[in-house]
Symmetry: C2
């Protein structure tokens, strides 16, 4: 964005995210049908309704005796109800007899209730008198100690909503109603384009002037954790034509493009030009009031997000959490309420004063330490170009735009990595 | 455990966990060497030291001019320092010239400092006068705007500790120092043995009296999320010999054994007998003061944990979080401080009074809802045998042992699934 005088304008974090999300039409990745064994953490692409009742018959929830509850009304220790045991219900089998007045059948947890029975007397409240007689010392109400047919799920019930991230119990529920396959969205594929004439692959020896590619490994881990599929495109020279070509290719075969590095002034402008030349609307913002991460570029090309990321490792992590992850969630079809997306955080006291400029959101890396039963956050003060500042950190403390800093001893929220 | 009269004693949650952890000798799974691409979320099995410096040379952190800082001392807007640009430093290449008094070289972010230069003047503080001359309007201190050789990592530095779970940035750091393979512990393999004569596989039609296997799908998801590898052994009949055989096999080829279902009185005793007969010390507790989950059995056989789990889905989830996950972490080699292991949680107000017995830890499933800007936790009151009580829930609220309940409006911590 440029202001009225044509100068580049740095936007707020809020504005940057808003620009991205409002310029991105709600198109998700295609849906695919997969086995439920493989569906953990995937996003369902359809509302899922049950094709049947669960359970399909009334079941006991305790070990005891299936009865007609009216036979136990008024039973006490002093005046028990005497009932005749006519059979035992075998697990997994349908009882072939009926419970008539004055009779019961032995039943275990999960057993199917016979006709005529509407409840189960717990074994603790029944005394075996002889081979065929029990005394019941406590009445049961109708439906007591049983799960009714369809009580868990009714045929036609909405089980899981479209856009829901499948958890362990959700997959369990699908198994329970006999759905062994499920429609989910494809994982969004995210291109990682590393740039920089000084960058070499991790498996190469470095010559003077060269450094190994750290950022594509950091980004790949962040993308996977956010539900995407990283696609490493490789390391490319800082030349317009080279970057333009690989961005074009990436826009064709993946759902999002990250261009990392290229943080020098000339290169940044080149990245912005590549994004603008690749399609509409192009660059949405160039520079955000965040530290680290200020030189970040965000854009959309033909409804695919394209980011130009600063080369500093700490900036990569902060930009990912703030901008890339929410956008990735949107294109992944995820549509849940805020807390389903919450990061793990702890409250801690900060060990020293941290200054911050108004008009900038500061993301401070901190290490956590327990001292006298309290959790303390120790700011890791180091250049954002040092990967070890992230390795030593347990999480990040955010100083908001309009806050001028944090005072020693203040309690802050630490968002854990 | 039995009390002095030989009765079965229900232990507290704390005691149960203590019994498990103190009877388990610190043996982790074997270590394996894997590519760093595959190492995200894995546990390192060795302390990792850097084989080299990172970076191996002093680098600029800004775009500007490499100088000897003494040439800029005292420079102001009114009295700038005039310096001669002798060359430009190419990215990824070693400068072949020295910076002598009065001279500078153009440098981009990440460029290698030439000999004789000890700092970089930012481009914003230098004015290009003509082809070869700049004026510098602000002094730089020695080492300003550069990263020194070895400033990120020094040869021999401890980068990551044994027992650490590798995060995105940790893998980035390994790439940075040229380590493309890493030693990690094997994922603990966890056997899931489903029992119950009424239980059939998820892909089968159920006949009256039968239900599908829900728990193995729930458990498999929980195991994977906790860093283990689920090994589904299948569904087995509730017979001593059958269960004994599959437990023996599972103890041989996996690191932990979960026996799910078999919740009837007779079956529970059978599971306990199988555990005791399989090796020492056998059953450590049989019954825990937790709801749901009370009938749980915990044991160790030849230093491998074996659990007998109640058949109710909600009990499975609670027992997993409370007992199985901490034990799984221990055998996975994970040895980090508490917060590295923290669950995501939100604070919420409870919508209704919940009673709880003293002497029992209650785990209440709750759904979350935003009302007038506040988060409310709505208790899901349903039998623990219903899988949908877990599907509808967003998390769990714990009422501790000695607390008699929660009052409507009280703020509680909701541990999210």
């Amino acid at each position: 964005m440029r202001d009225m005088l044509g100068r580049e304008e740095v936007v707020t974090v809020e504005k940057a995210l808003e620009l991205l999300l409002e310029n991105l039409s709600p198109v998700s990745t295609p849906e695919i049908k997969i086995k439920i064994e493989d569906s953990y953490q995937r996003i369902s692409s359809k509302d899922i309704f049950s094709p049947e009742d669960l359970p399909q018959f009334a079941r006991s929830t305790v070990d005891g005796f299936a009865v007609n509850s009216s036979d136990t009304f008024g039973a006490t220790e002093g005046m028990p109800a005497y009932l005749t045991v006519i059979s035992e219900i075998l697990m997994g089998e349908e009882p072939v007899f009926d419970i008539k007045k004055g009779t019961v059948a032995k039943i275990a947890t999960g057993g199917m209730l016979p006709k005529g029975a509407d409840s189960v007397v717990m074994i603790e409240h029944a005394q075996q008198m002889d081979d065929t007689m029990i005394e019941v010392t406590k009445p049961v109400a109708p439906s007591e100690n049983i799960i009714q047919a369809g009580e868990d799920v009714k045929n036609g019930d909405l089980i899981l909503r479209k856009g829901h991230r499948l958890r362990a119990q959700d997959v369990g529920a699908l198994a329970g109603i006999g759905l062994t396959e499920v429609y989910v969205y494809e994982k969004p594929r995210v291109s990682i384009i590393s740039t920089g004439d000084e960058v070499v692959p991790a498996n190469e020896r470095v010559k003077p002037g060269q450094v190994r590619d750290i950022n594509s490994f950091n980004l790949a881990g962040l993308i996977s954790a956010a539900g995407g599929e990283p696609v490493k495109k490789g390391i490319f020279r800082d030349e317009y034509k080279v970057i333009r070509n690989i961005v074009e290719e990436s826009l064709k075969d993946t759902h999002m493009v990250l261009i990392s590095g290229g943080s020098s002034v000339g290169t940044k402008d080149m990245t912005a030009k590549v994004i603008n030349d690749s399609g509409k609307p192009g660059v949405l913002f160039h520079g955000v009031s965040i530290k680290p991460g200020k030189p970040m570029i965000g854009g959309i090309v033909n409804n695919k997000p394209v980011f130009g990321l600063p080369g500093h490792p700490a900036a990569i992590t902060v930009c990912f959490e703030q901008f890339i992850e929410p956008v990735l969630k949107k294109i992944s079809g995820f549509s849940e309420r805020g807390f389903a997306d919450k990061k793990t955080a702890v409250m801690a006291r900060i060990t020293k004063n941290i200054a911050s400029s108004s008009g900038r959101e500061d993301h401070i890396r901190v290490a956590l330490e327990e001292r006298d039963g309290e959790t303390w956050a120790i700011p890791i003060l180091g250049k954002s170009g040092l990967i070890t500042t992230l390795v030593k950190a347990d999480g990040i403390v955010v100083i908001p735009l309009r806050k001028l800093g944090i005072e020693q001893g203040e309690v802050v929220e630490v968002r854990l990595f």
